[in-house]
Symmetry: D2
Subunit: 360 residues, 4 copies
C-alpha cells in the first residue's frame, strides 16, 4: 500500500502523469520546527541537475506545504505537502500500453491492474513518487537531528567507477564533500570519471546504475524493535520500495559471507564512558538493534530501464514480437538523484523506530 | 514485534533457554492439508546435521501440533505448533550478562531491555526462534504448492568456496541435488570442499559464513502490493529478521549496479501463450510485482558470532577490558541449517502476498 | 492515528482552523466510476442547512479532486481530495487555551499535546475532520453499490422527539423519505417537531443531541473477519471515531439485554432460494459475520458541547474557577449534519471488510 | 484476525472443541511480576459457578504458563499460556452442520468457511475463545495497577432485574461488593433476584441477557490516540469482539442523546491540584482522550442463543424447514461469566493505549 511506518507514518499520493505528487505525514511531535527551505533544498537535490547528466523533463518541484504547519512549526495536525506535475507529456507513453518496456513495471502492472489503471509514465510505479519520500525524509532528518542523529547518503559507484570513501570521515564531512559535485560522491577524483561515464552512456543511448551508501551516526544503543521489525528489516523494507533498488547490504554485507568469525566480529572497547567497537563490520547493528556505531547500508540501483537503443519486446494484443525505441525523456543514470531519496527513506525508517522505542 | 504478515499471519513465541519455541499461524484456508511429517522433515533440515559440522547442543525438535488441525486438515482455527527446548545449559551464559559477546545482540539488548529480560542463550534474539519460522514456512509451501508455486533454498557459498549452480535447472532439480549433501548445495563438487572448510574452521576455533539462494518458480504475474509492500520489500523484510543475515539481493543484485541498461534489461518474448524474458536479471520482479519468471534472491549469512578463540570485549559493570572465550556449544557454520529457514521465510512472504492479492 | 482500514484505506488530513480538510483513499479498484457531483451532494448534506437550525460558520465546502481520477474513473493512484477552510475566525478560540470548554477535547488535548499543538477550533479533534470521512464514504458507497450493497443513514430522534420508522421500508424508501426534510428523518410528522425542538434550544442558548440509525441492505452472507475484526468491532471502531458519538448498538442492542433467548433468537426460514430470518434482532450480524439480513446500527450523538449559556470551568494557569460563555458559531444540534457522516463511516467499514474478504 | 493491539499485542489461539484455548502476549515490559494465582483467580471467575446457574460442561481451566515467565517475572519473550479443553462432546453438534442454530454464528460461518472448517461448538466463534482474553486481561491489569490504574467489571442488570450502583463507590469497593455473590453485582438485593431470574429461565428451557458495566479509575489525563484510535474506538472495538455483545455506551451513552448541552456538559473544577468534573456524563472521555475522571462503559450481552426450547430453523441441504432442539450443555445466562471477560478486554485496550502513549 501507499503507507509506511507505525508512529512516523507517511502516506504518499499522486502519480507520474497525474496532477501532483506528495505526502501526508502523521506523528510529527507538535512544535517541531519545519523549515520549507530545507525541504526545498532536498527536493532540489532530487531534481535533474544538468543537461548533460539528466532527463529533459523539466519539473520545478516547488514545495507546497498544504497543512499541518503553523508559524513554522508542526501544529499537531498531519503535515501535508505536494508538488505539482507540470511537464507531463503523455503521448510517448500511449503505445506502451501494448508493448511493455523491458526493465519496467509496465507488463506486470498491466496484468495486475488491467486497462483501468493510469500507468502513463509508470503511474504509481514511477520514480516520481519519490518526491513524497524526499519531503518526508527531510522532516524525519529534522526530527532526528534534534536527538543528535545525523543521516547522509552519497554515491559509492556509478557503472564501473568506484569512489574511495575517506576513512575516518564523519557524517558532516561526508555531506560536505559529496555536495561539491553533480554526482554526489565524497571522492572528487571519482566524480569527474563518473560524470564522464554518464555522458558516454548518454551518447550511446544507454544507461548506468550504481551504488549509494547511507550512513547514520549517533543512533542510540538499543534502537530497533525485536525480531520482525529489526533495524535491518525496517530500513531494507523501505529501501526496496524505492524503484530501481535491487540489493541492500549492511556493514560488511556480502563480504561478511566470506569472512571468518574471528575477522568479522567487532571487538568491544571502552572509549571514555562509551562502549564502541574497534571495527564496524556489523554496520552498527547487532540482533537488529543499534550498537551505537555508525549504521552503514549500501544500496544497488539498477541502470535506468528507459534507454534510446532499440529493445526487443512483445505486443500484448497481437501476440507478436516488437522492437521498441523508448522516446520519453529519461536520465541516463538516476544514481545522483537517488542519493537524497535513499537518504530520506533511511531517515524515515529510523524516525519511526525512534518514535516506537520512545527515543524521540 | 513477534508477528509478521497481514493475511498469512505468523506470531512466533518462546526463547532460546525458555521451555519452548513455536508459532501460531492465522489465515490458512480451512481444508488445507497439513502433513506433520512434511513439517518434521523441514525441522530436521534445520537441525545440526553431524558432529563434524555442527553444534553439540542436541535438540530433538519433535513437532507438536497443538491446535488448528482436525483430521489432517487446517480447521479454521489458528494453527499452533511448538517444539520443546530440552538441552538447555544456562551456565555458560551467566557471565555474558556483564561481558557481551562480540558479534552478538548481547550488548544492545542489555541496554534496551535491562536486567529483567532473560537473554540467556540470546533470548528472543536467538537463532532458535527460527524453529517457528520453519514450521510456518512448511505450511506456506504447502499452500503455495496447491497453486503451483514452488520454493527452494540452497547454499551458494560457504566461506570462500563457491558453488556452481547448474544453468537451466528448475526448482525440483535444485531441490533434489541440494539434498544429497550435508551443506545443502546443488553442486556436488563444491559440497566436499565446503564440508572441509567447515571442519577446518572448527579445528581453528573459528567460524564461517556463506550465501544462500532462494528461488521461487511459477509465481503468478502481478503478485506483489504496490509501493511499500513490493515483493522485494516484503521478502527482504522477513529475510532480514533472520539472525545473522546482513545482505539481500534480487536477480543481478549488486552486479546490476555495474551493468548498462542495454545489458541489464530483460527482453520480452512470447513462449507459446506466455510472456517470458530471455534473461532474468530482474530476478522475476519488476516494479515490485512478479513478472512470472523465477524469483531469485541471494542472502549473505555472516560467520557464527560465537567462536572458541579468545576475543576482546568489555565488562559493562567494571568498565574494564576483558578477554572472552565463548564456551557454549555452537555451530562453526550455520549456513547449512539456515537454508531451510531462509526458504521458509521467503515462502511466508509469498504466501502472505498471494492471500492479500487474492491469488490463493 | 489518522488512518483507518486495511484494504480500503483512508488517511484524513487538515484541521479545524488550518487551510484545509480532506482525505487520501487507497484501494479503490482502478476503473471505479468517480462522480464528483455525487460526492459534492454528500458534502452538501453535511453542511449547515439553514439559519435557524445550524452554525453561522459559512463554509462552501467545494470538493477539489486533487489526484487519483482520470476521465471520471479511479486510475489506480490514491484518490486525494479536499475542501478549503475559508471562514476561519481564530479570535474566539484564543482564550480557550487557558479555560477549557466543558464537553470538549480542549482539556485532555492540552495536557497531551502541550502548547505546541494548534487546537484552535478543536484542531484535529474538530467535527470539521469529518469532511474527509464524507468524501471517502461517498466513494465507498459507490463501490458497494456496484455489488448491490445499499447504505442509508437517517435521524431516529432529536432530543426527546422520536421518529417512527416505517416498518418494511427498504433502503431506497428510507433514503427518499429522509431527504424531504432538514433533519434527515423518514418520519414527516416528527420532522417538524424536531425542527421546533432545535429552534427552541437555539433560543435558549442551549443544544440537543439525538440518535442516528444506519442501515445497510444486501450485505453478502459471511462478510466480516473473525474475532477481533468482526462486523460490529469494525463498524463501531470507526463510528466511535466520529466526534460526539457516545453509544452504538446493533439490532435490538440494549433491548436485547432484557429479552429472553426464545424471544431474541431470529428463526431461520427459506424465502425462495435464500435463507432469511423472520425477525432481525441480531441486526444482520451473527458471530461478527453478516447474515444477509439488513445491518441495523444506532448511534447516540451527544448534544453540541459549545453552548451560549454561561458554564463553569477552570483557568489552567491561574488555577481558579471561571465562568465561560462560548462565543464561536455553533450548531444547536449537529444530528442532522451527522447523518451523512455516520452513513459514510459505516460504508467505509463495510467497504474495507468487503475488500478484505474478496467480496468486491 | 485473531490479534489485537499494537504494543500490548495479543494473539488468541485454539477453538471450542479443539485441544486447547489460549493466548500469546507481546509487549509486556521485562521484569513485570506475573502471578499465576492471580490469573487463575480470573479464570475461575469465568468458570460456570454453580449447577443452578450455569452450563454443565465441566472445564477445570487450569492455567498453563508455557513460556515468557522466568522466576515469576515477564522475561522479555512473548508470554504464552493456555488451558486444555477436556470436556468436549462433539456429538450434539454434528447435526448442526445442516441446521444452523438461531442466534448463532453457525449459518454465516458455514457460508464463509465451507465444510472444511471445524465449527463444532462454535469453533473460533465460541465463547470459549475468551479464555485467552481473560489471561491477557489479567496481565494487563497487573501492568496498569503498577501505574495506579484500576479496572473493575460488574453486573448492572440481568433480564429485567436492575442493580443499583452505590453512588460514590470507588473501584475497590465495587470490586469487593460484586465478589460477594454469584452474579457479580455490587447490589446485594438485586443479586438474589437475578439468581432467581436465571433459575426460572433455566426451568423454562430459556435464557437471559444483561448489562455489564466496566469502570476504570485513575487513567492519566490525555491517554488515547487521536481520531481513529480514540479511547472509545479502541475499547469498543475489542468489546464488540466478545461473542454476544450487541451494544456499548460510554458515560451517559444513549441517555446523552436526550439531554441538553447545559445538562450534559460536565463542569470543570479544581479539586486540590487536580482538574475534575462535577458530573461525569462523558464517562471519563472527551475527544477520545481520558479526562482523568473514571471511565465508565456499559455493555449489552444478549441472551444465550442455545436454548432447550424448540426453535424454527432450516436445513441447508434439503432446503426444508426444521424444528431444532439444542441439546448441548449451555448457560441459561452468561452475564455473570462475561463480567471478567469484559473487564479483561477493557484492560487490554487501556494497556495498549498506555504503552502506545508512553504512559507505562
Amino acid at each position: 500500500m501507499m503507507s509506511f511506518g507505525e508512529r512516523f507514518r507517511i502516506t504518499i499520493f499522486g502519480s507520474s502523469h497525474g496532477p501532483e505528487v506528495g505526502v501526508t505525514i502523521e506523528g510529527i511531535p507538535a512544535g517541531t520546527r519545519i523549515d520549507p527551505e530545507r525541504i526545498q533544498a532536498d527536493l532540489d537535490r532530487r531534481r535533474p541537475v544538468g543537461r548533460r547528466l539528466a532527463t529533459r523533463r523539466q519539473e520545478e518541484d516547488r514545495l507546497v506545504l498544504d497543512s499541518g504547519v503553523t508559524q513554522g512549526q508542526a501544529d499537531g495536525a498531519p503535515l501535508r505537502a505536494h508538488v505539482t506535475n507540470e511537464d507531463v507529456r503523455r503521448e510517448p507513453y500511449d503505445r506502451l500500453k501494448e508493448t511493455p518496456r523491458p526493465g519496467h513495471a509496465d507488463y506486470p502492472a498491466r496484468v495486475r491492474y488491467g486497462t483501468g489503471a493510469d500507468l502513463s509514465g509508470g503511474g504509481i510505479f514511477s520514480g516520481r513518487m519519490t518526491v513524497g519520500l524526499v519531503i518526508a525524509g527531510s522532516v524525519a532528518k529534522t526530527l532526528l537531528a534534534a536527538r543528535g542523529i545525523d543521516v547522509v547518503g552519497y554515491t559509492r559507484s556509478i557503472g564501473t567507477v568506484d569512489a574511495e570513501i575517506p576513512p575516518g570521515a564523519d557524517v558532516p564531512q561526508l555531506r560536505e564533500r559529496s555536495r561539491t559535485n553533480e554526482v554526489g560522491t565524497p571522492d572528487p577524483v571519482a566524480s569527474s570519471r563518473m560524470e564522464e561515464a554518464i555522458a558516454e552512456a548518454r551518447r550511446d543511448g544507454d544507461s548506468l546504475g550504481g551504488i549509494v551508501e547511507v550512513r547514520i551516526d549517533h543512533v542510540p544503543v538499543g534502537l530497533g524493535e525485536p525480531f520482525f521489525d529489526s533495524l535491518e528489516s525496517t530500513i531494507a523494507h523501505v529501501l526496496f520500495s524505492v524503484p530501481a533498488v535491487k540489493a541492500v547490504e549492511f556493514g560488511a554485507g556480502f563480504a561478511a559471507a566470506r569472512m571468518r568469525g574471528s575477522e568479522h566480529n567487532d571487538p568491544f572497547v571502552w572509549v571514555g564512558s562509551e562502549v564502541r567497537t574497534v571495527t564496524n563490520h556489523a554496520g552498527g547493528i547487532l540482533g537488529g538493534l543499534a550498537t551505537g556505531m555508525p549504521i552503514v547500508v549500501r544500496v544497488a540501483v539498477k541502470p535506468t530501464s528507459s534507454i534510446a537503443r532499440p529493445q526487443q519486446t512483445v505486443n500484448l494484443t497481437t501476440r507478436s514480437a516488437e522492437t521498441l525505441v523508448v522516446t520519453g525523456r529519461h536520465d541516463p543514470c538516476i544514481v545522483p538523484r537517488a542519493v537524497v531519496v535513499l537518504e530520506a527513506v533511511a531517515a524515515i525508517a529510523i524516525a519511526d523506530l525512534a518514535l516506537r522505542g520512545g527515543y524521540v
